[in-house]
Symmetry: C2
Subunit: 434 residues, 2 copies
């Protein structure tokens, strides 16, 4: 058997401890599959004394995380610190710059600095792998980088944030409102104490930017992702959607076309015959659409210790398998960084589709006429409209489904209604996934 692959592990939170547990539990099996043992030799984390349920005494402990990149016995660094910049980025640059492999679950860092890191990795012939960065244990990075490589992809879409999907599923199954379910999710540990990155869609947008780059051969362009989270979704919206045969899901969607690259994370109405409608709880799923392969679905646990650690170790096994082969690692973003094109952001106003609009309105004469006039004047054609009776706070709810049409017109209609005394709060617009 060949010499072991020696790992330096930065970060010993849930996933870091999980990586140690996977490598311990399945050591013999992993050695057979990888062609060599995979051994953690050095670790670095904030708190040495914390009980993580694993024996750390057998590893070399480094107080200085950056020193992992230069550790004499480390072949590959696993970065699980998190954060787009700071120590994670410093470590990533130093590791790859030194010609050593890097495995990371850090979607924020990849979305912001993926191009730079890929270029360093390619120049130094070092592996840069990040299966765990998107959809936890689901091998969708590999699926897009390798599995669909024969195809021109037209669209990649997915449910990329387990916290949001857990909350929306629970709102749906229990008929409850967002704030209440979020509080419960936090109490249960399904949502962070500060859930902003999740519920505002930022985490999903980081992941979408990575998927879009892999799918379309463009540079990761997180800044071009239009992002809206789920905090505005009411239980009433989910009920209206259900009555229309749809489910509400936070969907990330990227499309490449003649008008450029479109990237959006937004709550959508998903029809029941679409595979993403059946993704419940904290599950993640990605749909890739290619010119020859058609529509592929990858689905599984999007977060958590076991699934995420499984993806990290899969990357380590890939590196171990490749070690005998001269060290030329593949391009991290499916093609060399220098060939990735600068994407032109598509004009979302040019997009067409059906949409769901919901207005919370004052209960008084003329409100419906005002909304209907704004729609008419902006050229929005209404497929259905429903007004529900007055709630305890004296407001009524108007839900509209539009016919297929340009998003520009819907935006104009909402602009016309901005500041109207008839409206109580912001209207909610959700595209209907086609």
């Amino acid at each position: 058997m060949a010499e072991a692959l020696r790992v330096g592990l930065a970060g010993l939170g849930t996933v870091g401890a999980g990586v140690v547990r996977v490598l311990d539990a399945n050591a013999a099996l992993i050695e057979r599959r990888a062609g060599r043992a995979i051994k953690v030799v050095a670790v670095s984390a904030r708190d040495r004394a914390k009980d993580r349920g694993i024996d750390l005494a057998r590893f070399d402990w480094l107080d200085d995380t950056a020193a992992l990149a230069k550790h004499a016995e480390v072949d590959v660094v696993v970065e699980l610190i998190g954060g787009a910049d700071g120590p994670a980025l410093t470590l990533a640059r130093a590791t790859l710059g030194g010609g050593r492999g890097l495995v990371t679950a850090n979607k924020a860092m990849l979305a912001h600095h993926g191009l730079e890191l890929a270029a360093i990795a390619e120049e130094r012939g070092a592996a840069l792998k990040f299966e765990a960065a998107v959809a936890g244990g689901v091998p969708v990075i590999k699926g897009l980088r390798e599995g669909t490589a024969a195809n021109e992809l037209s669209r990649v879409s997915g449910i990329l944030n387990g916290t949001c999907n857990f909350i929306l599923s629970k709102m749906e199954s229990e008929g409850r409102d967002f704030a209440e379910v979020l509080a419960e999710a936090q109490a249960l540990g399904y949502a962070e104490a500060d859930p902003t990155f999740d519920i505002d869609g930022i985490d999903a947008a980081h992941k979408l930017a990575i998927l879009a780059s892999l799918s379309f051969g463009t540079r990761p362009a997180f800044g071009d992702v239009a992002v809206q989270g789920i905090a505005q979704v009411l239980g009433a919206d989910i009920a209206e959607a259900a009555a229309l045969g749809h489910r509400v899901r936070l969907v990330g969607i990227a499309e490449a076309g003649p008008q450029g690259l479109f990237q959006r994370v937004h709550p959508h109405l998903v029809p029941l015959d679409h595979p993403l409608a059946h993704v419940t709880g904290s599950t993640n799923a990605v749909v890739a659409e290619g010119d020859f392969v058609g529509r592929l679905l990858f689905q599984g646990a999007g977060a958590g210790e076991g699934p995420t650690a499984s993806a990290v170790v899969a990357d380590l096994i890939d590196i171990a398998r490749e070690m005998d082969r001269g060290g030329q690692a593949g391009a991290p973003f499916a093609m060399p960084a220098a060939m990735l094109s600068e994407p032109t952001p598509a004009d979302t106003g040019e997009r067409r589709g059906r949409a769901y609009l919901r207005f919370t309105v004052q209960d008084r004469v003329g409100v419906l006429a005002e909304i209907a006039a704004a729609m008419r004047d902006a050229g929005v054609s209404i497929e259905s409209l429903i007004q529900r009776g007055v709630s305890s706070d004296g407001h009524a709810l108007v839900a509209i489904v539009t016919h297929d049409g340009p998003e520009r017109c819907v935006a104009q209609a909402l602009e016309r209604l901005r500041g109207s005394q008839s409206l109580a709060g912001q209207p909610l617009w959700m595209p209907i996934l086609a």
Copy 2:
């Protein structure tokens, strides 16, 4: 850019022509992703004159298929002839034996001779890849070989035959019987003129044997797969299943446990909360269950020119990407052939579960008592029983759902009823997927 990967193509049926079309349509994109061009240089097929809609004049035509293995300009052979033995096997042995790569979609050959071919490939440092052999365009071979490599898998299951799923879905949605829908599927080209391999479950069993080997580190053991096809399933069974909240699917399932390796292809009742229940039409899907990753789902088009060619070309791209790396290809079955263990077939009698039983019976006194007594005497506990009124041929239908219990007891009950004058035809037994 590096030198092209030169392909010799054996077989120019639907998939073979599709491979040429994919390589033509996406040539520039594939070159960027693969790091080199991928070019067909030589082809061999039965009929040179047949119009396949592609220009063959640019390729070297070989009347002798086996000569592809020795062609001076061929780096890798794509085998799309089919058949477990014969010219496909001769070509595969010669190609790998000569140290050249082989890409094949031939599940029958791999199920029967996969171990031998993997051993030759490893000895000669040649690539042996077969993504297209299972689930068409869905990258599930890669998913199991690499994506789940950190896990001990407990179960792999799937809908592995598009023809059967098309027929069962159509029986379900249109309330029709098997023979009628099969005839229509044949007329539409969704089923072969001789559909035996598909509807008898043989094709699915070939694929299951490959998935089991990859998942559990065992030698492919097609002979140990218990196989039953879908020809006995009645429209009435599908209706009864629906009333119970289930769908009927031909499921291939393999489990590794202390009692050995269990492999079965059989029509199952699938509960609606299981992902395989939502796989309709000719779609394929595979579920893998691992100790850390949990349950993963891979889904997409299981057959057809585009999807299958997409998988073949993905394998070629993998080989092209690896060409600079010293030629040490990975183990075809996830670990070296010499490490694959000889599986011990599990005793199916030891399996426990709920089951659906359907009897077509003579409409006369005492039939129900006879069936109930056989169940009781064999120790089968009945959860529900329904008898439907007499059909036009004078027969009634008795459908039973058993409580959880050993399959051995159900088999004994059926044995007690064998030859009974009360029964019109064979009873149907279907496990309920848990």
